[in-house]
Symmetry: C2
Subunit: 209 residues, 2 copies
């Protein structure tokens, strides 16, 4: 019996990240730790806070942009703190370099703004947090922004709506990789009933506001 190498997911963290944008998907990865290794990456400081300077959820990064090991999957969370980073050359360089290497890129909530700012979503369908929709879509008119979607898949890029939508997107993503039977056990342990319909978006109306 050969041991299949684990998939490595890199979760980018920064001050002002939305706790669940990162932690929602990470709970799924934790349940699949035989198949998936999760690493955290930050370019700002080793410890980041969801409510900076030092409030909310304190999460630690294992790596920086400079020493990140090879990744299979890149996960970009959003949150209030990402707004000042979309056009940060360090972020753009890291994300563009990773985009050439990884198999998949996943974004949660306003995390899709990172990809919009780099041009990686040009001509592609994508979504974002519905309360921030009008703000994020301004980052690029070359993106085919989808207002009504819990999550959107275009090629190897998966983008989700706000915060908890990331869990539904990751459930769909992991089902594609590992099958519904494997994920059924995960759902039973975390007692989660996912939304399995990417077009069921009860919050799409917020983008009209």
């Amino acid at each position: 019996m050969t041991t299949k190498p684990k998939l490595t997911v890199g979760v980018v963290l920064f001050n002002g990240f939305a706790t669940l944008d990162a932690a929602g998907p990470m709970q799924f990865f934790d349940q699949l730790h035989d198949e998936i290794e999760t690493i955290t990456i930050s370019h700002e400081s080793r410890i980041v806070y969801s409510v900076p300077p030092n409030g909310g959820c304190p999460m630690m990064a294992n790596y920086t942009f400079e020493n990140t090991p090879p990744l299979d999957i890149l996960l970009l969370p959003g949150g209030l703190g990402c707004r000042t980073l979309f056009h940060d050359p360090r972020y753009q360089e890291f994300i563009l370099a990773q985009s050439k290497r990884v198999k998949y890129i996943l974004t949660v909530c306003t995390g899709s703004g990172f990809l919009a700012a780099t041009g990686l979503l040009n001509g592609k369908r994508a979504t974002t947090n519905k309360k921030a929709f009008r703000e994020i879509e301004k980052l690029s008119s070359a993106v085919l922004w989808v207002q009504h979607a819990r999550w959107v898949v275009d090629g190897n890029i998966w983008t989700s709506s706000g915060v908890t939508a990331g869990m539904d997107m990751v459930y769909a993503f992991l089902t594609m990789l590992f099958g519904t039977e494997r994920l059924k056990i995960v759902l039973e342990i975390i007692e989660y009933t996912p939304s399995c319909d990417d077009t069921h978006d009860p919050f799409a109306y917020l983008a009209d506001a």
Copy 2:
């Protein structure tokens, strides 16, 4: 206009905590950071991992049991790592001391095992993760364990079923404190549709297995 003091929530962390047991409620607290200050507490090491020794979600603790400031609310997450801590005298002492001071105690998933082991649930109704139900209920026959419940409230103690049930419990808890209108804005930002019926428990069947 007087400024109302914030409520302080203390989240106990340990190696092998379930990421979302802590992070699900914390996302709600983050959105209410004008009303709630969240602090993290660990007695083992400053950085804890959801998949120990150093995998999964790395979270940092701001305080230890010895220097924890006064709390209004104590939150006890569960996870694989809590099993060896239920009868740890340091945990029992801390939890019993806090129970005399805090306004509310909240547990998520197998976190209710901490309270069962201390005797704080004696004669009270409580629930836990449904896949771990038979294991956790063995901790105390003096607890009125509720198999069919998304979450249970008895006095000032709120216990939830597995992992994501903590978000529904915390939504109900915060609605009690701050009202549905305030929480409506939170739900819109995190795009969450909570289960508002504590008796709607799609995973209760797992406890029969």
